[in-house]
Amino acid sequence: MTVLTGLNLALAEQGITVVVGKSGCGKTTLLRILAGLECMDHGEIHIPGSSQKIGMVFQEPRLMPWLTVWKNIIFGQKKDEIRQEKIQKLINTVGLTGFEKAYPNQLSGGMQQRVSLARALAYDAELILMDEPFAALDHFTREIMQQELLRIDSVSRKITVFVTHSIDEALLLGQKIVVMGKGNVRAEYDLSPYAYPRDLLSDQLINIKKSILGKL
């Protein structure tokens, strides 16, 4: 079955690109192809930078049930790369202080997802792919995580591709918004002129939201 056809997409050299679209339009497939988890029949991908490190946050937490939170977070790192303070800082950032020795089945779904996010960030990839990572979080945690993502993005030169269902989330996070439909790109919006934190109720963003809703 053909999922993506005629898709042409350029990612910014750094910053967050948000992909929105209806269920089944190929958002996840696009991410999986970028991550190298899926093969494609035709086409080309050029990944900038020398490093082949790609961090991925899946829809589900996908933690190793036999490892503690700490060991899950350092799961992708080589022994000599692990820096204790950095990991501890990351754990504080995602709000899991004190849970380092807990096992995944002792955590709530949202907490597990935060561990999974910390694992991808600890991996220190230049390209981070996120597949609806905040969908399972409650409203307050999601806000904190969104702010945290923006903070991490502002201090590191990373490329983030963020897939979401929520147009509001896209407007809050994206420097570029890609609207997908039926396997290709319907529209692209450049939001880099709008500084963070953004006010979703400002006229320009409301107009963009209307325009996106029209394209979906």
Binding site: I54, E60, R62, M64, P65, F75, Y103, N105, Y123
Partner: protein
């Protein structure tokens, strides 16, 4: 909002209290369970004692507990019992580890390449349904009545539960977890060592536990047919000497030694597998 916050803390406190209460209950129920199990054991012993006192059956058919105890003490004092236990144990130990090594290697092969099962599936099913004891005549013919034939019996008896569990554990690894490995640039070897193997550990340990039980059963049978020592031999020899008290001593020792081995093994498993894994077996 305030109200909600209040409710939240209240709920938390409640939850905490419940956790404490439940741990107290747990301790209580552990004690109650212990009393139950010891009570029943004691009851059976008293019944045995009472029945043998009435003299309904002759002491040859049902020896009294004190007669069994006296012959047990005599066997302990002379050291014969320990020689038998040690001989059986040494055979089980050797055979069990040989079986584990073979099952582990073949199980990995089968778990990693499920498609290859077409080659061996019918042979495995065939061999699994042949009781190892039925091979004794052939084994004696080929290997004599020495240790080799008994160890082969144990290997055959304990191989299948271990092989099938190792295979199942490796083959049932969630592909979603393996994808995490791919996304972290793991090599196939790393994926195997860091995801598949720990994921299969509970199944491997269950297989080992079942296999150990099977090897105890098989060795007693093998020793009853072809041996000059061991617990199985002790029982058969006592039967031929018309010493049913010694037969009962043998049965008790087999049961207790097997029980202890299983207990030690389950303790070891609890030490090794913890966290999310500890709930997946008991």
């Amino acid at each position: 909002m305030k109200n909600r916050a209040k409710m939240k803390t209240h709920g938390k406190r409640n939850g905490h209290g419940r956790i404490k209460a439940s741990s107290g209950l747990k301790k209580d129920s552990v004690w109650r369970d212990r009393c139950k199990s010891w009570g029943v054991t004691l009851g059976i012993l008293i019944l045995w004692f009472a029945v043998s006192k009435t003299g309904i059956w002759s002491s040859y058919v049902l020896p009294s507990p004190e007669r069994v105890w006296i012959s047990f003490l005599a066997m302990v004092r002379s050291g014969v019992l320990f020689v038998h236990i040690w001989d059986s144990f040494a055979r089980v130990f050797t055979g069990f580890w040989i079986a584990f090594l073979i099952a582990f290697c073949l199980g990995i092969l089968a778990g990693i390449k499920p498609s290859a099962s077409a080659y061996y599936n019918h042979i495995v099913e065939f061999m699994r349904n042949v009781p190892p004891l039925s091979l004794i005549p052939l084994l004696i013919l080929w290997f004599g009545i020495g240790e080799t034939s008994k160890i082969i019996i144990i290997v055959l008896a304990s191989f299948f539960p271990m092989f099938l569990n190792i295979k199942k554990g490796l083959a049932s690894c969630d592909p979603k977890l393996l994808e995490v490995g791919s996304s972290l640039n793991f090599t196939p070897w790393q994926k195997f060592c860091r995801i598949m193997l720990p994921n299969a550990l509970p199944d491997i340990l269950i297989g080992m536990r079942v296999g150990l039980g099977y090897s105890w059963r098989a060795i007693i049978g093998a020793e009853m047919i072809a041996a000059a020592s061991g617990l199985g031999y002790l029982i058969l020899d006592s039967q031929q000497m018309s010493r049913s008290d010694k037969v009962i001593v043998g049965i008790f020792v087999i049961g207790i030694v097997g029980y202890c081995c299983d207990l030690l093994f389950s303790l070891a498993i609890k030490k090794i597998a913890h966290g999310g894994v500890s709930d997946s077996w008991s």
